[in-house]
Symmetry: C2
Subunit: 339 residues, 2 copies
């Protein structure tokens, strides 16, 4: 068990290091914080912390720097979620009013989050795995083409042009539209495939063919729903913290540009405490992000969790501030989507 004062020392080291970007030594520590003990005592504590791998000295005669493990202990046990100040609250309120559709709301949200935190912000589009079909529409668009529109209960709308290969019969399309809605309106996306299986039974060969083309496209649309999407903002903030990324920021940029990587990472993250989830440095299991930390939280749409949002920045980030910003924005987004 690590004694309380040593933990206080760790907290002080993390705070000073985040503020100064310099390894912090025992002497400056006792100067800036009122520990009531001498530098020598602090040194003993630091030796203990180093033994526990919570801090680390870049070289013999330098101060100490928190390790990933040190940051982890800090956020789990030592940091308080600091409430946003009035200006920040105000910024959130102002940012959100007047957003009309989903795209715009999420776009605003991600920009807001990157401005509040000065980090790279990301917002995941609502995952539709648990969503259900609200409505499907077929609209004749040209001689041999039909526009298919799929609306889900999460409010997402997708459209796709289906090439039929033959001139279309408007009446039949209308009939098919009705039939499809009768079958799958209200059904979970995962059930759609089973429900439309026998839709063509009893039709003439020609209609069967058209139907199967449309059904094939519909199933593709449903499947495409699982292909999740992330929007980003504030990428340039990375470059401003360049010195925090030894080597180059290039691998970090690569990682966040590659949606697949990002989706996998945040997919693995489950809310830990305070409703927020963190990956610190090498916890990310992705080489390029060894010096980066991710803070995410889930946001909800009408009561059920549907997706995540968060920020990415250097391991040496201000966790307290970022955590509260992510939480606050997630809360406001949930509220906005509630209507």
């Amino acid at each position: 068990m690590i004694p309380d004062r040593s933990l206080e020392v760790l907290r002080a080291i993390v705070q000073d290091y985040i503020a100064s970007k310099e390894p912090v030594g025992s002497k400056s520590l006792v100067e800036r914080h009122a520990f009531g003990v001498s530098a020598a005592t602090i040194r003993n504590d630091m030796a203990l912390l180093e033994e526990e791998q919570l801090i680390h000295a870049p070289h013999t005669s330098a101060g100490r720097v928190p390790t990933d493990k040190g940051y982890r202990l800090f956020v789990d046990r030592l940091s308080e979620v600091k409430p946003l100040n009035t200006a920040e609250r105000q910024a959130i309120e102002n940012f959100m009013v007047g957003s009309a559709d989903l795209d715009e709301t999420l776009g605003r949200t991600v920009r807001l989050l990157s401005q509040l935190t000065n980090q790279v912000a990301m917002v995941q589009y609502p995952t539709l795995g648990k969503a259900s079909v609200r409505h499907i529409e077929l609209i004749p668009a040209a001689d041999t083409r039909v526009l298919m529109v799929l609306i889900t209960n999460s409010g997402r709308i997708q459209q796709h042009v289906v090439e039929l290969g033959v001139n279309l019969d408007e009446n039949f399309i209308a009939e098919l539209r009705q039939k499809l809605n009768a079958l799958i309106a209200g059904a979970a996306l995962t059930d759609v495939k089973a429900k439309v299986k026998n839709i063509a039974s009893g039709m003439t060969p020609e209609y069967t063919k058209i139907t199967s083309v449309i059904v094939k496209n519909l199933l593709e649309q449903v499947d495409a729903n699982r292909q999740e999407k992330i929007i980003l903002s504030g990428t340039s903030n990375l470059a401003k913290r360049e010195e925090d990324f030894p080597g180059s920021i290039s691998p970090v940029l690569e990682a966040i540009e590659e949606q697949v990587v990002l989706l996998k990472l945040i997919g693995e993250m489950q809310a830990e405490q305070h409703g927020v989830s963190l990956r610190i440095g090498r916890e990310n299991s992705f080489e390029g992000l060894a010096n980066a930390s991710i803070v995410v939280s889930g946001y909800e749409n009408q009561g059920s969790e549907i997706a995540k949002l968060g920020v990415i920045g250097p391991t040496r980030m201000d966790y307290s501030t970022n955590i509260s910003a992510v939480l606050a924005v997630a809360r406001y987004l949930t509220k906005t989507l509630g209507n």
Copy 2:
């Protein structure tokens, strides 16, 4: 007038500098290129080029580096568009097959371009300023809501949920849908406003109100068409060329993240020669891009130019290769969209 040999020297300087990233001196120049004259002669030529502000010496005892003006002369008069090699052609062909809708095609295109050039690639979504309405659809979506779908002749589809405020009358919506299509199908987007002006005349007050809400939304949709959009790929390539951007890449990242800036810049660019348009360094008139060059070309949809695509990279980029890649990709995209 600058003598031919001096221009050859300029070409050699640009080529060597791009290849080596080192200021090039008279001696290495005569070694690598068969000028048939001595280094001293080359020095005289270089003095001339320096007088014309085409090259510039970072300091007294260093070689020379092309200026923005030097690059400009190089691309305008000295560089040949080098045809793509077979592997590159193959890559383009492979990349394009199987693209279904506009989103996916443009997404593939921008990734392809960034891979071919190792630069940041961008593709502008088709501008709809000259587009016309092909079809408008109104679909009852919930008790008081209607889904409006607007399809233009450029193939772009937009949808928007309209909140009516009152329970909807399906018959009336169907009637309105017909009326709207009769009025504006085929009309240029710019003419829509005038055409729908009197649509509500003769209706009952209640219907007038619903109609005006829908028309208001329709006009917003039409206007939103002018809000252009750009997609990017290969941002991490910037970080790999970091040494080419004195100071930091941060302002460059900011510029390309800010769609407004980017749209303004490429909006100003008109095709010069070979169907391609360039801005070199400070020609960009945007401070953050002082060390960046932009290469863009237009691509067409069924015969009329509709948008641009291109790459952004350091001033010291391989112009020949990038120009031909941009041109080739624009050509292939035009072909793909032709169907």
